[in-house]
């Protein structure tokens, strides 16, 4: 308490980070962990049931609504989960505020870019029909 006598309690904690969003982050990490668990079990079973993992088999399978939609959900849940997880790792090990802010920003860009690429790929397979022979 010494050295802060002229400050109100709220002034001493302001700017040190929110006391409200931590539980939200924690809860979303758990929520997405259960989602990824279910969806990856679905993916593993689906892939192991395919006759082969060549281009034709995979695109034909992924073109079906009941494969494309769970795959889109898997991408959303997985990239959300890995964003939350990597952010905690960064916040734990990067102590300099500027570097931390920058690293978390780069993480967000990479996660959005990766998820967008994956989602676009699935949509192209699902809506595009046969991929043109290159």
């Amino acid at each position: 308490m010494s050295g802060a006598r002229m400050q109100t309690p709220i002034a001493r904690v302001r700017g040190l980070g929110s006391a409200r969003s931590g539980a939200h982050h924690w809860w979303l990490e758990r929520l997405t962990s259960v989602a990824t668990l279910i969806l990856f079990l679905w993916l593993a079973v689906s892939l192991l049931r395919l006759p082969a993992l060549d281009h034709g088999s995979v695109t034909e399978w992924l073109g079906q609504p009941l494969a494309a939609v769970p795959m889109l959900l898997l991408i959303a849940a997985t990239f959300w989960h890995l964003k939350l997880g990597l952010q905690v790792v960064i916040e734990d090990y990067v102590h300099e505020e500027g570097t931390k802010l920058f690293t978390v920003m780069v993480l967000n860009f990479f996660v959005l870019a990766g998820a967008a690429l994956a989602i676009f790929a699935v949509l192209k397979i699902a809506f595009g029909g046969e991929a043109p022979a290159a």
Binding site: V58, T59, T78, I125, A134
Partner: protein, 131 residues
Amino acid sequence: MHRNPDRPLAPHLSVYKWGPHMLVSILHRITGAGLATVGAAAFVWWLVAAATGPEAYESFTGWATGWVGIVIAVGLSWAFFQHMLSGLRHLVMDVGAGFELSKNKFWAMMTLAGSALLTALFWFYVVGVRG
């Protein structure tokens, strides 16, 4: 040092006795970071290659079935199973269960044994059954 052996040690990292629960804790983070970077990159490559066409897909499978790809795939499969099992352990601990020392240690070791077993079974199926 005049230390009463009946009292717990101060929480300095250097005097902690290494236990399986510590190994599992740091492995959860390491496997998570590995899956989030290498795993996610491979996953996106697979989907984009499939969407691009047969040639791009051949390029992916060529890498994935080469020895570098297989080493990475074995590592990722183990990381996946380890992260999955220690994640399930975390979900149990999140509701306040499994903190008794012996139980906590037992399930920590079980995630290690389980991930090794699941990885072996997975590759036995892929290589032995599916060829």
